[in-house]
Amino acid sequence: MKTPLAWLNLLHEKTRLLVAIAGVAFAVLLIFMNLGFLGALSLTATQIYSQMNAEIFLRSPQTLEISTTKSFPRERLYQIAGVEGVQQTMPVYVGYQQWRNPETRFSRAMFVYGINPRDPVFTLPELQAPEAIAALQRPNTVFIDRLSRPEFGPQTTGIETESDRRRVEIGGQFTLGGGFASDGTLIVSDQNFLRLFAPRPLNRIDLGLVKLQPGADVEAVKATVRQLLPADVTVLTQEEIIGRDRDFWIGTTSTGFIFSMGVAVSFIVGTVIVYQILYTDISDHLPEYATLKAMGYRSRYLFKIVLQEAVILAVMGYVPGLILSLGLYELTTNATSGGLPMGMTVGRVVFVLLLTVSMCALSGLISVRKVVTADPAEVFS
């Protein structure tokens, strides 16, 4: 076995090694947190669709995401109701209302979904019970999202307040989360939606849900639907509509940019720290490295030693960085009571490991020049 020079060199300077590991771990932690926030935000931005009971979605081509919709004729749903494989089509209406906090009497913009209470639009269990359906059908009754911000006030059933100057009563609760689009969410029946948003007609809808029969081929049905309908609707699978909304929030807003910058800055910080450590290490050992060259070691060998040191630092810093991040993910998720669901994915674990290794390798490549140019003749003087 070859003498593990890289390893022994690193181990020899215990304090320096600890500083290096802490530096790499810090950079890894920063990268994980930035990616975690980004992931959590794109998840909350789109989790609404995973709670909807449909495989295919219809919306206007001008719609950017769930809260900035353009309406299209309800007629389109009737046109495809008979398509082979389609079990049910369901209209969804959306809009904003000024919700008055019943305690402070301050108003705030609340996001409202209008649905037919008998349609299984949402998979939310709170909306399936017959009592809940009956409650939704009562005039001027709303269901409120438990994840609405506390500024909207108490959510107890029976509380009365005003929504856009109209008296409404809280008839129940559900757990959904508003993501980027809203701080608070209501679900109401289509009849109540009509009352709240008058004079909006019910024959123009914001989102069309198409539930398929079990075992139906999504792509085939989607193709048929696409063929049947004119160009005033876009036909999307669940995966596609989630992708579009996510791209909007991450790409079109500066969210994606901010957190990508965060990752880039962490990467640079890590690179500088590791470079600093490797450079000092090389400078300290320059006469020894020059001696190795004089003995007949090639530059390639020294190159390998420095890169090995870099990779060792990467791995030794990555592991504590990962463990700390897992802890902070959980802490964040709990602190926001699920509002920012920070979850670790295998893809991210691998991605950050690769990022860390390339971070350290980059530092290694920058600092290695010094050792490669070390003049073996200098050891004599």
């Binding site: 020079l5 020894e288 001696t291 003995m295 070691y297 090639r298 003749a377 050891v379 004599f380």
Partner: protein
């Protein structure tokens, strides 16, 4: 402690054949013809070695002396294939170094043992690991520990093999460096003031060890030194002044190295 151990010698022989340095007994270890060397480029170009014509036969111990700045270290670094040379001729073990590229020079270096004024041991490696770094160059991974320990034992460091350099004395560190230079049984050893950092006692010991081992392994030693006390190990003394050969005195003319009379010419020379 200086008795040769036959087992490691077999290993050494194997290592040597790996190095591919098999030359006829008659080929000189080092041979120079019209060797010039310059530092710098253009206007700053400065010649430090002038027309050196020297031949060192195999097995010879030569000491190079001369005032500071006379080019001794430079001469040694040329022979050690540590610099590219353009002018004249320099043959080491029969191989012409002038015109060699870097990869070929590295190959030549592997057949040479270097001993420097500074020991340049890795602080992170134990004595035996430092020596093993040399063995690994020629690929003796299986036997490297045995070879390194045998070498250290010959230098009287058998009880210090697992010590790191910072727990060794100056003389002990220098002996580890010598073990590293000798472990592959090189046919040429280049030493630049190996005793400068040592006190009188250990300086003397180190040189005697080098001499004994060199005779056993019949290798050539070129040593730069200012140390008058160790001149008696030399077969030949070369004096460089301002990059030119000032004198070249062979000690073979004298009856025996231990004859008190032999001290006279040396005293005279200094």
């Amino acid at each position: 402690m200086m008795d040769a151990n036959p087992t490691p010698h077999n290993n050494h022989a194997a290592a040597n054949s790996n190095a591919g340095v098999a030359i006829a007994q008659s080929t000189p270890a080092v041979e120079t013809h019209g060797l010039n060397y310059y530092f710098g480029q253009g206007d700053l170009r400065k010649q430090v070695l002038f027309d050196l014509n020297l031949t060192f036969p195999r097995g010879q111990i030569a000491i190079i002396t001369g005032p500071s700045g006379s080019g001794k270290t430079t001469f040694l670094s040329l022979i050690g294939a540590l610099r590219t040379i353009h002018d004249g001729s320099l043959k080491v073990m029969g191989r012409e170094l002038v015109g060699m590229n870097n990869a070929q020079l590295v190959e030549v270096r592997r057949g040479i043992g270097f001993i420097f004024q500074a020991h340049n041991l890795f602080e992170s490696l134990t004595a035996v690991q430092n020596v093993e770094m040399a063995v690994e160059l020629l690929g003796g991974f299986g036997s490297k520990r045995a070879q390194a320990i045998a070498m250290l034992e010959q230098l009287g460091l058998g009880h210090r093999v697992t010590y790191k350099p910072n727990s060794l004395s100056g003389g002990q560190k220098q002996r580890v460096a010598i073990a590293r230079a000798l472990v592959n049984q090189p046919q040429l050893i280049l030493a630049d003031e190996p005793t400068a950092a040592l006190d009188k006692e250990s300086g003397r010991d180190v040189v005697t060890l080098m001499q004994t081992l060199a005779k056993e392994q019949s290798c050539t030693i070129l040593m730069v030194t200012h140390d008058n006390r160790i001149l008696d190990v030399a077969d030949r003394i070369i004096n460089l002044v301002d990059g030119r050969l000032e004198s070249d005195t062979s000690m073979r003319d004298f009856v025996t190295a231990h004859d008190p009379k032999t001290l006279d010419p040396r005293m005279f020379m200094l």
